[in-house]
């Protein structure tokens, strides 16, 4: 209950006291698609420090994380924004999945509970974003309902988006499949971990903000 109240206060506080001129760019997507890895890569590139903890166990990010005033420079242009890293969206969370990854039952149950709250928070924050990078794992099936629901919601809420097909350094990655799944959107293939194709992503972010 205390956590729910503190998350609510955090969101309201952010909405009231944020620098209204600062753009908010959110990283949304399913768990383990590499949102936090991408957040860290962007922060490392432009402010020299990381913002989120990463792990191979899903739902590592269980609360909203914000890095303020990141200034990206690209082709003589500058863009300053607040980067919002969000917990992965999911329709199911089973603590036993965390136990299978080597966690103790009590720890896994706590993680599952926090993860459910994280999903709710991600959804609640969606409306306060100016633009969203939908981060997908390019090695996974792009036609998952979470991806479709997420993109459908952004369209309904008129929030501009870029589809980021992450993990293109992996053999199983199928960027063409992601492009075929979302033909009406700009799809950028990157590897946040290896830093591949980040220039194209920054170009897309500029374009997204310009067309907003």
């Amino acid at each position: 209950m205390i956590k729910v109240i503190s998350d609510f206060i955090k969101r309201i506080f952010f909405q009231i006291f944020q620098d209204r001129s600062a753009l908010k760019i959110g990283l949304y997507g399913p768990p383990n698609s590499g949102k936090s890895t991408l957040a860290n890569k962007i922060c490392k590139d432009w402010i020299g420090e990381e913002m989120s903890k990463v792990s191979n166990i899903p739902h590592e990010t269980r609360e909203i994380k914000i890095k303020e005033k990141i200034t990206v420079k690209h082709k003589n242009k500058e863009l300053t924004f607040n980067l919002v890293d969000t917990p992965g969206l999911a329709t199911k969370i089973d603590y036993e999945d965390f136990v299978k990854k080597g966690m103790k039952a009590a720890q896994a149950k706590k993680r599952a509970k926090e993860a459910t709250r994280g999903v709710i928070e991600s959804i609640k924050w969606m409306d306060s974003m100016d633009a969203i990078l939908v981060v997908l794992d390019a090695t996974e099936n792009p036609y998952s309902q979470v991806n479709i629901t997420l993109i459908g919601n952004l369209v309904a809420r008129k929030i501009p988006l870029v589809v980021v097909a992450n993990k293109i350094d992996m053999k199983k990655a199928k960027i063409k499949k992601v492009e075929a799944a979302f033909p009406q959107y700009d799809v950028v293939g990157i590897s946040a971990l290896k830093g591949h194709n980040m220039e194209e992503l920054y170009e897309s972010i500029f374009k997204l903000i310009r067309e907003r």
């Binding site: 999911a90 199911k92 089973d94 459910t116 709250r117 999903v119 709710i120 919601n153």
Partner: protein, 128 residues
């Protein structure tokens, strides 16, 4: 044994979003798979996820698997405009939405006109 419960769109048409979601989740929590005519509005889909998450944290419920399959028809521009106006006003009756409990339904895949529904038992059986 799997139980599939069909919900025609007219059964939820007059309900508020919260009541629609509550109706669907109550069926799913009774270990039944819902076959809903049409689809929910995008905002209702996220509300369904929110309510699902709230109920996971309160009970032994583990969540849902959802899949929406839309007919892949080549419509004329006029048909598209007519259908989008009808969908905005009356809701989307095209296609079908499947919502099952995650404790029973492991995965739902589109292929793209047919639906592959993998249940936990089926996976176990295959492994043996």
């Amino acid at each position: 044994m799997l139980t599939l419960q069909f919900i025609p769109y007219k059964e939820i048409q007059s309900l508020s979003s919260e009541k629609r979601i509550s109706k669907i989740l109550n069926i799913v929590k009774n270990d039944k798979i819902v076959l809903l005519q049409g689809r929910l509005f995008p905002e209702e889909e996220t509300t369904l996820i929110e309510r699902t998450m709230e109920q996971i944290s309160r009970s032994k419920f583990k969540g849902v698997e959802i899949c929406t399959v839309m007919p892949n028809t080549n419509q004329t521009l006029i048909d598209k405009i007519r259908n989008s106006i009808a969908s905005a006003l009356l809701g989307n009756r095209d296609g079908v939405t499947i919502i099952g409990p995650a404790s029973i339904v492991k995965e739902i895949k589109r292929d793209p006109d047919k639906i592959l529904l993998f249940t936990k038992e089926a996976k176990k059986r295959r492994r043996r």
